[in-house]
Homo-oligomer: 444 residues x 2
């Protein structure tokens, strides 16, 4: 049996997929025929040889072509990707996609459609590139009660932070290097504001915790405000800056009723240098999964790029072909998305988790850098403000003076964020204080 | 549909499996009924409640019971585990096992039998405990031409080496601590001699490289000869000691004919502190996989213990049940073992790899510690011996003197092991030399 693949998009990743299929590393891939490739321009020079009659600009035709068994969507962006995926499902095609933006926003719609049409939608490449993370969450780790998924899942920002740390340069300088190397786009907002990481943690969280996660419920802070100074001070105290995407179940206070909550967020974080995610540098990604009775596993590797992403796409293709060859009548239930599994069939309830916790309600340690006039009593005044809001301090240190200005760096104990924010607001009003350029969470 | 499980063994891991099944984290597990549990003694107090009529000492009956759909073998050891697995297959049962020793030795026999009977044999728990490694090698990473698998896959020895490094204690002292904590057995040979790691790398290699690996073809050196002194000197030069299990394809010299070779071995190794495996400490395991076009991924986490191992066993159970629920007629071909896949069906050849390379033919850098009389000229004499056998040196250092004895530590460049061994033999004959207590490979 030959499986006809329709490829939507022949950019970086699409080219990588064709390269693997033209030099297959696994015998099952010899059963694959690239039936059609949808591109924007027929004339563009290509790195791979595709018979001209199989190249087309008519993507609608590919997803409705009865000769095509499997559609691989590598267009990126929301439209026409979403519509083409839905139309492919409608025509009974199996679908593979690397499109985190579409899945993070329209995953429920897409997986509902796939369940009705009894086809699979696989997306290993959408999160953390070549690192196997979705299939392990769906299969090998699935016996666990998962408690937390922490990820460094945006290579661009990890590269920028690594450069800032290693070279002592500013965010702008590191961004320019990332752009020069092709790791960051001309408009880097989706990466540096944390939006890409938020798309990915939405997908990871919905898999890990078995419920739909609305992208808008994810508080998201980027890395633009991190300075070389903050990185240096953090280092002196044994911390490193990472843009973390976090999803973890958070039990409510015993006193309050209602379900547990899913704490999900993306923000720069100070991690101890001994933390398993602290040593993930450059464009690499890593995902830490904690579960009961598993404990912690960390999966790390290349989070983007042609080869790793194509490896994940073709891994999904192999998974699909193997499944189809068994004579299965329906998609593998583990490879769907949990919100669509028949919880009720086993008499089970869907998980009782309320998604999203306002940052103000969370607890963390905080790193704060205050610029103040170099006068006696300023440390006392700052300390008093924290005390007024029950923010207990681990240390408060005067670091440097420039032109009568002092830098005062504070590390708090674990406190409620709302309390810390109120103390910060009060400190901003102190006549000796010129500004608070650094305020970041510390996790361990 | 209810799936009846027959559990062979109710020790540490078996108890963990029952605990998960009695508090299932996934709705599919509610379809599992523990039909029978085979134990050695009916009277032993148990941590889990099993209806007495389901406990039996008659393991043969479980594997032939027509009511049982899935047999989970957690006995360990070669017999009766091997015979019971084969008999279960013979009776059409699906099989899950955590038994690396049986699979490393009788894997070919077992997977042949399973292919004939059209049942699956899953064994995620057999290698690296709770870390998802076999399924990723079988699925997500399978599109790659894999080049290397390096693993820290024995938690006992990793704990001992970590203790020796952190506390500066001897092998014997660290072993005693490991035994006191239950990480090492009274007879620790299988762990400290590297045999357990060799079983596991045999399994990883046969999956990664698609060919049967005979356990006897794996050169294996343990960690007994590593001293606190060697660990300290290695540290000074930026290296740490790890017991590495290695499987990598090694191209033949261009001049010689014949297939490429699979370099597979287990031995203590000096790794640079910056290596991704250098930071894996305590009883944790980690596996590094390198492939084309993937690059490198590292999967790390708890390599043993009740919870992690039970997590992997029940992950396999979920995988099996999901597969059976799809109406599949045959096992998933990706979840078998490659040597049994129909390579010929796609017109493909089985991989041309000759398994096993004598250590003498390999190349590495070497760390050598020589005890010699503290006399002028001894460094020159040692250097000359290395030069006689074309072993070029990166450094040769006199470290310490006790009672007219000097310790001389040498780091070579990359050389052929046979050349290094010949130089060592010559150095042993030098009148000034009292012994060579340390000789280890350095990999990067």
């Amino acid at each position: 049996m030959v499986y006809r693949v329709g490829l939507l998009g022949l950019g970086t990743v699409g080219t990588g997929v064709v390269q693997i299929l033209q030099r297959p590393g696994h015998p099952l891939l010899r059963a694959v025929d690239i039936g059609a490739v949808g591109v924007r321009s027929l004339d563009k020079p290509r790195e791979v040889q595709i018979p001209p009659e199989r190249l087309t600009t008519d993507l609608e035709r590919i997803v409705s072509d009865p000769e095509i068994d499997i559609v691989i969507e590598l267009l990126g962006g929301l439209e026409p990707a979403r519509s083409l995926i839905l139309k492919a499902i409608d025509h009974g095609k199996q679908v593979i996609t690397a499109n985190k933006a579409v899945i993070a926003r329209y995953g429920a719609e897409i997986f509902q459609a796939a369940a009705q049409a009894k086809v699979s939608v696989l997306l290993e490449a959408a999160v953390a590139g070549g690192i196997p993370i979705l299939q392990p969450l769906q299969q090998s780790l699935r016996a666990n009660h998962l408690q937390a998924v922490w990820g460094i899942i945006n290579g661009t920002t990890n590269f920028i932070l690594s450069q800032m740390t290693q070279e002592g340069i500013s965010f702008e300088e590191a961004l320019a290097i990332a752009q020069a190397r092709g790791y960051a786009e001309a408009d880097p907002s989706a990466d540096v504001e944390g939006w890409d990481a938020a798309d990915k943690i939405a997908i990871l969280a919905s898999l890990a915790f078995g419920l739909p996660v609305e992208r808008e419920h994810i508080p998201c802070e980027g890395i633009r405000d991190i300075s070389a100074t903050d990185i240096r001070y953090a280092r002196e105290w044994g911390f490193t800056f990472k843009l973390l995407a976090i999803a973890q179940s958070s039990p409510r206070a015993a006193s309050s009723a209602g379900p547990s909550r899913l704490d999900i967020r993306v923000h720069p974080t100070l991690l101890p240098l001994t933390h398993p995610l602290a040593s993930i540098n450059g464009v690499d990604n890593a995902v830490l999964v904690q579960g009961d009775p598993l404990g912690q596993v960390v999966l790390s590797g290349p989070g983007a790029g042609r080869g790793p992403t194509a490896s994940a796409v073709v891994g999904d293709l192999l998974t699909l072909i193997a499944h189809l060859q068994t004579g299965a009548q329906v998609p593998n239930p583990l490879l769907g998305f949990p919100p669509l599994l028949p919880f009720s069939a086993g008499g089970a309830e869907p998980p009782q988790l309320q998604v999203g916790i306002p940052l103000a309600e969370l607890e963390a340690e905080f790193y704060v850098r205050v610029l103040a006039q170099d006068q006696p009593g300023v440390i006392g005044a700052i300390g008093t403000c924290f005390g007024n809001h029950r923010v207990s301090l681990e240390s408060i240190t005067q670091k440097e003076c420039h032109r009568e200005q002092a830098e005062i760096v504070i590390l708090t104990h674990t406190v409620r964020e709302a309390d810390c924010q109120r103390a910060i607001a009060e400190i901003r009003q102190l006549p000796q204080v010129a500004g608070i350029p650094g305020l970041f969470r510390v996790l361990r």
